[in-house]
């Protein structure tokens, strides 16, 4: 069981409640595909990912980014049982999508950077630590059902 301090709970709820998923999701996913181009291997049917501009303008990337953020919200709403929340998705990523779990961390880092850029000074070291702790738990849960 993950122990959350009051500060951590409040921080996570606060960040996500103020987030526009349709902006942050696409920004995070496209950033991941640009900064870590090998992650594009999982998106062969997404069309034009040829360069940064193409990726940032790609509607399939945008849609998927939003989907990911909506899914993260489930973890935000169930911080006391994130493992169970993502059990199905973990199986999906393992058995059907065959995604190397190392990639979850890459996307998580890109999301952190996007949130940092949005919040600026408000994204203090303590806030960052809380956000990264939450993402680490999500990432771990997504890797849980692999065998």
């Amino acid at each position: 069981m993950v122990e959350w301090t009051d500060f951590e709970r409040a921080t996570i709820q606060d960040i996500f409640s103020k987030m526009d998923y349709e902006v942050v999701g696409p920004a995070a996913l496209s950033r991941c595909l640009i900064v870590y181009p090998w992650t594009q291997r999982y998106f062969g049917n997404f069309g034009n990912l040829y360069n940064a501009a193409a990726i940032m303008g790609n509607p399939m990337v945008a849609k998927h980014g939003t989907t990911i953020l909506n899914s993260l919200e489930r973890g935000v709403k169930k911080m006391d049982n994130i493992k169970e929340t993502y059990a199905e998705l973990s199986k999906l990523h393992s058995e059907k999508l065959r995604v190397d779990p190392d990639n979850f961390k890459l996307l998580s880092d890109c999301l952190t950077i996007v949130v940092a850029a949005q919040l600026g000074k408000a994204f203090t070291g303590e806030v960052q630590a809380a956000f990264q702790k939450f993402m680490a738990v999500v990432v771990s849960s997504l890797g849980r059902q692999y065998y």
């Binding site: 640009i34 900064v35 950077i113 850029a117 994204f123 070291g125 960052q128």
Partner: protein, 141 residues
Amino acid sequence: MLSTKQKELIAEIWGGLTPVAEDIGADALLRMFASYPGTKTYFSHLDISPRSAHLLSHGKKIVLAIAEGAKDISQLTVTLAPLQTLHAYQLRIDPTNFKLFSHCMLVTLACHMGDDFTPVAHAAMDKYLSAFAAVLAEKYR
């Protein structure tokens, strides 16, 4: 391998950050201490509380070294030779920590530059910091 465009972009960004080296460096260090408490073990001889003189001076040193390297990335091994020796024989910081610091530096840059920290700039910066860390650890063994 950094492209010419990427090298120019990196040199430009670090050139602009030199005047605020203290703040950038201290911010990145503080983030690292908050998210990765194990990194504090290397600083037991310093006062690393926010805005302490030690923290600011140390942050400044690090940023200026990174900025210096950015001026001519193809010469990184030459520029960093003294720091390579320092880290290998005296400091002996486990190189995994370079990754942690680099990540926190990227977060600092994102907070500082906002939208200007574009995905393209982020990619170039991540590559540069990885190369910097790799060169720094070259004399370890």
